[in-house]
């Protein structure tokens, strides 16, 4: 198995090292690193803006670049948390807790150095995990029929919506809303236009770019405008030579790196628990097993090393279910799947065998991209720090223009720009009402495939809805449905416990609201 993996990986490198692909990979991580540093811009909005530009590109190059934006943004996000105490990227919110105190003590450079090394360790492990695990998963998933695919999607959707931020009930409602938006357009089997409200422009469905940029672009701008987040850059002058950590720091960070990496790679495998949960869990673990837990929060280097390693290991591991099963774990993965689908590639277990260039090229590009990021982040740290000072008032009008022209460019259609605006305003109302709209995109991307497989499963079973829990003929599907039921029961139990006065549901040690304090 190791031998075939290595041959495939070798092939992957030959794809990723094609000058054309290498250039797009570099561009991706560069842009990612940049938006990671800029307070107020996220990888989701950036990937959505870049998505229309990839329509004319080859699928391999497109996916390498978009993926690069995602993991590149994680490197940049860490800089933002450590030097400015701004948890603008959720996975790095915990890093603020110890990263910013270190910066105040003048050790910001060391913290960044430890972060870069930890990130690389975490990412490397995540990639290795993907190399071995994804093909193994595929060999199981190849045997799946429509019923199994359906139950697996159900599990993925439920996990994605209940384990994410905010109220689980609202999360599920957002997923269902996403599924509904996914229905808009001509029915696959009969061609009947559905939920188009008589608008001819909606016949082809809602453009994924319009949905993503409405919800994560325009709605976010409406939320952030004039909020004037106070941050000061007076501690943020870091030089390259400050970044080399001392031997003592490395010794202290070594085991946190390893533990963080392992926690991150485990979290990546559970659908719905992405890098954010991984980083919180690993920070809490590190604090619990530390002999000096009181140092945490006052600039403990372990408190930076552990969550950063776990974030990066989880970010890379996130790609496993996405690329091998076609089930995205979070919004970014849903967007990447959307990008593949626009290129005419059907996601699912057959992807690795049908498009080995995409899968292995992507994995190889992860290594290259991470090395590029280390190179970008160490000598050019001064540039990134300068970029931190770009104020939001210049950022959002420019971004708004990119949103408009990006959506227009997707189809050369002004109607979609209007639709984006409509979705944006609607998305902001959802935000005000306490919904976290991320699961919308999950539902939207999976919706059509879910319906197709559901219909097929019903056709095969002659309308027997119990086929999903038929333990004799469909044991795998039964397990997935069982796990989904378990998730719901767990949420109900948690909710009942929260109702009882004086007894609070156990929470993860540090919440982002504390990190801001």
């Amino acid at each position: 198995m190791i031998e075939t993996a290595l041959t495939d990986l070798w092939y992957g490198f030959s794809v990723a090292f094609e000058p054309h692909n290498l250039m797009w990979c570099f561009l991706g991580v560069l842009v990612g690193n940049m938006v990671g540093v800029l307070p107020g811009m996220g990888p989701v909005a950036t990937i959505s803006i870049l998505l229309p530009l990839t329509f004319g590109m080859k699928p391999v190059a497109a996916i390498l670049m978009l993926a690069g934006v995602y993991y590149g943004a994680q490197y940049g996000g860490a800089i933002c948390s450590i030097l400015l105490n701004l948890p603008c990227h959720p996975p790095h919110a915990v890093t603020c807790l110890d990263g910013y105190p270190l910066t105040k003590q003048g050790k910001g450079g060391t913290a960044l150095g430890i972060t870069v090394i930890g990130s690389f360790i975490g990412a490397s492990f995540g990639i290795t995990e993907m190399i071995f695990l994804a093909p193994a998963l595929v060999s199981v998933a190849m045997k799946f029929g429509p019923a199994e695919v359906c139950s697996l999607m159900l599990l993925g959707l439920l996990a994605g919506s209940t384990l994410a931020r905010g109220s689980p009930l609202k999360g599920v409602a957002m997923t269902v809303l996403g599924l509904i938006i996914g229905i808009v357009g001509a029915d696959i089997e009969t061609g009947t236009p559905r939920l188009t409200f008589g608008l001819l422009e909606l016949y082809d469905g809602v453009e994924i770019v319009a949905l993503a940029l409405g919800v994560f672009g325009i709605a976010e701008f409406m939320k952030s405008i004039n909020q004037n987040v106070k941050f000061d850059t007076k501690y943020a002058n870091v030089k390259v030579r400050d970044m080399w950590p001392s031997g003592a720091d490395i010794r202290r960070s070594f085991f946190p790196w390893i533990r963080g990496t392992l926690i991150g790679s485990l979290c990546a495998l559970i659908p719905g628990t992405g890098p954010t949960i991984a980083s919180f869990v690993s920070y809490a673990t590190e604090k619990k097993i530390s002999r000096t837990p009181e140092r945490f929060g006052n600039g403990a280097i372990e408190g930076v090393a552990c969550p950063e390693a776990s974030t990066h290991s989880s970010v890379q591991g996130d790609f496993i279910p996405t690329m091998s099963l076609g089930i995205p774990g979070d919004t970014v993965m849903a967007l990447l799947l959307g990008a593949l689908m626009i290129q005419g590639i059907v996601p699912g277990p057959q992807l690795i065998s049908q498009h080995p260039d995409i899968f292995w090229g992507l994995i190889a590009s992860f290594w290259i991209g991470n090395i590029l990021l280390v190179i970008l982040n160490v000598p050019m740290i001064g540039l990134w720090v300068k970029m931190l000072a770009v104020p939001y008032k210049y950022l959002y009008p420019s971004a708004l223009f990119f949103v408009c022209i990006g959506v227009y460019g997707a189809n050369n259609d002004m109607f979609q720009v209007g639709l984006t605006l409509f979705i944006g305003v609607f998305g902001y109302i959802l935000l005000l009402l306490g919904f976290h709209p991320a699961p919308i995109l999950l539902g939207f991307v999976l919706g059509p495939r879910f319906e197709e497989n559901f219909r097929r499963a019903m056709l095969i079973s002659r309308g027997d809805i119990w086929v999903f829990v038929d333990i004799k003929n469909h044991p795998i599907s039964t397990v997935f449905v069982g796990l989904s039921a378990l998730l719901i029961v767990a949420q109900v139990v948690l909710w009942l416990r929260r109702l009882r006065p004086g007894e609070r549901a156990p929470r993860i040690a540090a919440t982002p609201s504390q990190a801001e304090g």
Binding site: L169, R194, L195, I225, P397, F401, Y408, N412, I465, R498
Partner: protein, 156 residues
């Protein structure tokens, strides 16, 4: 404090909105043939999802707890100027993009959007709009060859 949600708890509105959306979906869906579970018609899924969303909306409203009030207090103040400018920018982009081309559309979009920030002055908005316009036209018209005229009159 501005109360964005007077009279009711926020979750009542949230639940009501979901019920409304579910109702619309289910109603629209019932216009198409439903079919049976064995042979599902195009209407089956929308109706099922619409009903599911209505149930979820009901649950959201029913479980509205006092705990949400703390979150409610952290809500932003009404930001009418900012909101109007963020909506106004793309609206101008659509209108001007249809009639006069990319250059005026871009300029107007960035300029109006920039005015949404209270610290932005007329001068800084002009400079920002001008620079984004130059950059945007070069990138999207000349490099990426987007089929949208730079300046035109009378529509495309």
């Amino acid at each position: 404090m501005h109360k964005l949600f007077p009279w009711w708890k926020r979750d009542y509105y949230a639940g009501a909105l979901m019920i409304l959306l579910g109702l619309i979906t289910a109603h629209e869906g019932s216009n198409y043939p439903l079919g049976t579970l064995n042979q599902m018609g195009p209407g089956y899924f929308p109706v099922a999802l619409g009903i599911l969303l209505m149930i979820l909306g009901g649950l959201i409203a029913a479980t509205a707890t006092a705990g949400a009030d703390a979150e409610e207090a952290a809500l932003p103040h009404a930001e009418w100027r900012g909101w109007a400018c963020i909506i106004g920018g793309p609206v101008l982009f659509i209108l001007l993009g249809r009639t006069t081309g990319m250059l005026p559309a871009t300029f107007a979009c960035v300029f109006v959007a920039a005015l949404g920030d209270r610290e932005t002055t007329l001068k800084s908005a002009l400079i920002l709009a001008a620079s984004v316009t130059v950059f945007g036209v070069i990138l999207f018209h000349y490099l990426l060859k987007l089929p949208m005229p730079v300046v035109t009159w009378g529509g495309t």
